[in-house]
Assembly symmetry: C2
Homo-oligomer: 332 residues x 2
């Protein structure tokens, strides 16, 4: 049987009011003697106020929900790490939901989280989300462009980052530049794709549809997509939707007998820790995953504690990192 505040009150010979006030550092000053007696009993019996009873009154669950499309995705796991790092300091805990890229699951999770009275929600999903407006608890959107909200959005300069990488390839002399993207209309992917198109245009390079391939944003997805595009084209460079896809593209290139970067230049997006260790190290567009998570958590925290205040938006810059997977074009 769990020990309750009544037990502590009885043991230390005071009322529950007193115990409660002392434990919460509230109310009037109590005599040192009383305080000591109560604290001693608490200590001795290892009393902890019941979480549910306490919350029924305080409504401070100190819990937030976080929904990600894939926990094993290296980008998102880094974001989670950032979120956790911030929230732990504040004694908050995070209810983690893995939506498996499913929009249905996301909606389900949001409902469940709301039922659990979480203090706020962190939604790291690239999907557009119509039910946003019905969300009555504070929330922050990570990496989301497709929404009508004007505050609490954390974005990354997907477009600029992607543009820069394509321009880099063009400057190296590449003209036949492929791109691996994602079919399902993910916001970031669209941005990166748009930048690709625009950059070609700005450089008077004609757009070639066969240079494009779709696939899941995973290693395997990148492998399959790259395989297809390499089989039917003679591209000299390939922009991958993200680093994971680039990793898959490496293998596709090897299997096609292509040497990176001599025969094929490859560029990723994310700058995962692992990308630096690939062979050759991957040229990529860095985005600050940990910082994104950390900032998202801090904004949410702020939004929970000052519901009236407007939550700022934030756009993170990217950084283009040249490594060994890109080189001057080698063939015409």
């Amino acid at each position: 049987m769990k020990i309750t505040i009544k037990d502590i009150a009885k043991i230390s010979g005071v009322s529950t009011t007193t115990v409660s006030q002392i434990l919460n550092n509230k109310g009037q000053r109590f005599s040192d003697e009383t305080r000591r007696r109560v604290l001693k009993a608490v200590e001795e019996y290892d009393y902890n106020p019941d979480y549910f009873a306490k919350n029924m009154i305080n409504r401070e669950s100190k819990t937030i929900g976080m929904i990600v499309p894939d926990v094993t995705d290296l980008f998102f796991s880094k974001v989670i790490e950032g979120v956790e790092a911030y929230l732990t300091k504040k004694d908050y805990m995070i209810l983690l939901c893995n939506s498996n890229h499913s929009h249905e699951m996301e909606k389900d999770y949001i409902k469940q989280l709301l039922n659990r009275s979480v203090a706020g929600i962190l939604l790291a999903s690239p999907n557009s989300l119509e039910l946003e407006t019905s969300l009555k608890s504070p929330y922050i959107l990570i990496d989301r462009g497709l929404n009508t909200r004007t505050e609490g959005n954390l974005l990354v300069k997907e477009y600029d980052g992607s543009y820069e990488s394509v321009q880099y390839l063009i400057n190296l002399g590449h003209r036949k530049i492929g791109m691996l993207t994602n079919e399902s209309g993910y916001y970031e992917m669209s941005e990166r794709y748009e930048a690709y198109c625009q950059c070609l245009k700005d450089n008077n390079i004609s757009y070639n549809e066969t240079y494009l391939e779709d696939g899941p944003v995973t290693i395997e997805g990148g492998y399959q997509a790259a395989k297809r595009v390499l089989a039917r084209t003679d591209i000299t460079a390939l922009c991958c939707g993200n680093d994971q896809m680039a990793i898959g593209a490496y293998r596709a290139a090897y299997e096609s007998g292509l040497h990176i970067p001599n025969d094929l230049s490859i560029i990723g997006f994310d700058n995962l820790e692992i990308s630096e260790y690939l062979n050759p190290p991957l040229t990529t567009v860095a985005q600050p995953a940990f910082e994104i998570g950390y900032t998202a958590a801090s904004y949410l925290f702020q939004s929970i504690n000052q519901p009236e205040a407007k939550v700022p938006n934030k756009t993170f810059g990217t950084k283009f990192i040249v490594r060994g997977s890109t080189s001057l074009v080698d063939k015409i």
Copy 2:
């Protein structure tokens, strides 16, 4: 203002008892008419029973806590995925804690989780843990050998897996076999190390301390450790504590001008998705991370619902996977 059961009762003209019973499918049969009225009001006002009030009575938080040493670790994120996959089906949610390999943090988190009345705890930590016995909620230990508990342990045949990989190298003619391990006495690492020693012994190969290196079980850790051991020895093969370390070792090898596998054979442990995509693909010892998580969750669930029943232990086998990072020894 949140809508309560009283509101629903008033709106549908019945008592709160009736509303509660209908919503929980309990008690006696109610007239269809009453049921319809109540359900309609619930629907219309989007009523959801308060999580805390409900739990104060039912004590079914349907929440478990999970502690991992590192969310960004590819092995653990896969385990999390498995846990999530099982628990979601059961309408449970998981409170995720990232201990950063810190034993102190683990203890803190356990305390916090207990205070929150989680239904159970999943502890994925390679640390030994003295306070286990004081854990009064159901729990399952993942990947833990150093404990005195006789049930609810999920283990992997670390020793056998490691032994097999070392023996494989020896069969290829290797005699100068290095090993990258972890200093902090992690159970799995010790097992793998013990197997390494025993296998050498069984093959009458003398143990050479300089072939050993310690490091964090990360890519960077593997890189640094491999760099050190390659700088001072002429090993022809290297067993890495896990795949992440192996990835780091790849780069160390390249920087030392060594070709894998011709100059240096490398073996990992885990079989991460990425390992197959490395260049060359990594020979490694596979362990079923997703399945481990999934099983752990199912055992915990069982243990929550039948507290008296003994929770089984389970030991997962490993599978040795030969890929391109190992070859016959090339130099004497």
